[in-house]
Amino acid sequence: MENVERIKSEEMINRIDSRLTKNKVVKGLFFTATLFTSIILIVLLYRIIVQGAPYLSWDFLQNFASRRPEQAGIKAAVVGTIWMMAVVVPTAAIFGVGSAIYLEEYAGKNALTRWIQMNISNLAGVPSVVFGLLGLTIFVRLFGFGNSILAAGFTMSLLVLPVIIVASQEAIRAVPNELKEASYGLGATKWQTISRVVIPYAVPGIATGSILAFSRAIGETAPLIVVGIPTFVAFLPSGVFDSFTALPMQIYNWTSRPQEEFHNLAAAGIIVLLVVLIMMNSVAVWIRNRYQSR
């Protein structure tokens, strides 16, 4: 019997070569897939950069939109996007994290909770145009915010909220139970435990998970179109009730103009948008590192 088994194991050993070949082939395939994806994305970026880079200048950043391509700038759109994100980030973060805390820490395991949870995952899949229709009806009309920063910001917040909730829930769930116990064990109340132990621990996870959501909010055009925010704005907003325009709107408009120069401006606008995005991501990375190093 001993013998039979040893032979079996020799057979197994002999098969290793073919298994390794398979592994190599698969690895090659996966690598190719990654390379392929990277190349597509690089081509995409390369085209934008080649087209737009020559149009980037200080004036481009400093000027308002203009009918003359050589004078047209992106100031209102950049500032507008920043204003809008200044509404979206805190709103979505507070409501997102708040909902996540409720669901993870307070909610009972009942039908209501499951219903809320299901709602959230469904909303994550609802098309952005539909959110645009919602924003138009609720924020622009019903609440009378008009096509202001606030209306667009709230619409975008609702759009990204589900993703942030899910990311935050995961981050909160990942907080080791031992830490919560430690806090409770010292006589901390539930909210003290949540605010002083759970949240700080979860911040890196929340930040990372929210980047995707906020990136989306920056680049979305359709809901802004549906909400009806203007494109030509030649002044800077001074408050959240002011009109504004945003980068994707400006880019959208430029791409639909007949003149080639406007198309190039659109590419330059995209570069600016990517820079804004990268800056925002760096802030998230900075937050993550700051909280992790503790």
Binding site: E178, E181, A182, G185, A188, T189, R294
Partner: protein, 269 residues
């Protein structure tokens, strides 16, 4: 080894003359859903003694100790009946806020669980949540607590560094210091040394002996020799029941119940 055992026995006998109870458990039953985890527990726990709780895995040791400071509330679906009196106040009474109970009764866990903050902040945490903001008081308490947990000398130069930089044993002592900062009356310890190496274990055992002078300590342990070495009284749990509770020496040398004897003599490690 024998030396310590004898000493604790003396200690004990000295104490027995004027015993004050910190905890009095009467007919405690506890269920996790349908699972009857604690059955008719009756235990009187003395002030300024080390009370050890031993028993095989799953017998309800952790459940019991977590009930003493109502950490068990965190587990959903737990039902209890009977009563536990802490210094003659029923801990299940809703006028007795868990936050107060847990402040008076500190807890040290199996795995060291410092907060991902600096050493200093770990200890200041408890003070801050209780609204103590005075910097000087905090500073003094941090030092005193670290001294009390025999950690001061090792960390005094780096109390603002992350607690995760400490070794396992140091972290566990930090967790003890964290309790001490709130000047508790009782300290509960659930297998505080089971994740530690022998040298650190020894340090903690020594520390427990010191702390006994000021605090009442209830310790769950797997390690029967540890119980024998450091405790004054020992309760032996089995299947959610207290099989025997007596002076440690008696439990280890002449247990009344044959099951206790079986468990003790099957011991190792």
């Amino acid at each position: 080894m024998t030396l310590t055992a004898v000493k604790s026995k003396e200690n004990n006998q000295a104490g027995q003359t004027e015993n004050v109870l910190v905890y009095n458990t009467k007919d405690l039953n506890l269920w996790y859903g349908d699972h009857h985890a604690l059955k008719n527990i009756n235990l009187e726990i003395n002030e300024r003694e080390v009370t050890a709780i031993i028993g095989p895995s799953g017998c309800g040791k952790s459940t019991y100790i977590k009930t003493l400071n109502r950490m068990i509330d965190l587990v959903p679906g737990v039902k209890t009946n009977g009563s536990i009196e802490y210094r003659e106040r029923d801990i299940f009474n809703k006028d007795f806020l868990v936050e107060e109970l847990r402040t008076r009764v500190g807890m040290v866990f199996q795995k060291p669980n410092p907060f991902p903050k600096s050493i200093y902040e770990n200890i200041a945490f408890g003070l801050k949540i209780h609204g103590i903001k005075n910097k000087q008081i905090i500073n003094e308490t941090v030092e005193k607590s670290l001294r009390g947990a025999a950690l001061w000398e090792e960390v005094k130069d780096r109390i603002h560094e992350p607690a995760y930089g400490l070794s396992g044993g140091q972290q566990q002592r930090l967790c003890i210091a964290r309790c001490l900062a709130l000047e508790p009356d009782v300290i509960l310890m659930d297998e505080p040394t089971s994740a530690l190496d022998p040298v650190s274990t020894l340090k903690i055992e020594e520390l427990i002996q010191e702390l006994k002078q000021r605090y009442s300590i209830i310790i769950v342990t797997h390690n029967m020799q540890q119980a024998a070495r450091i405790s004054d009284r020992t309760a032996f749990f089995l299947n959610g029941e207290v099989v025997e509770y007596d002076v440690t020496d008696t439990i280890f040398n002449s247990p009344a119940d044959s099951r206790t004897d079986d468990y003790i003599s099957g011991r190792f490690g």
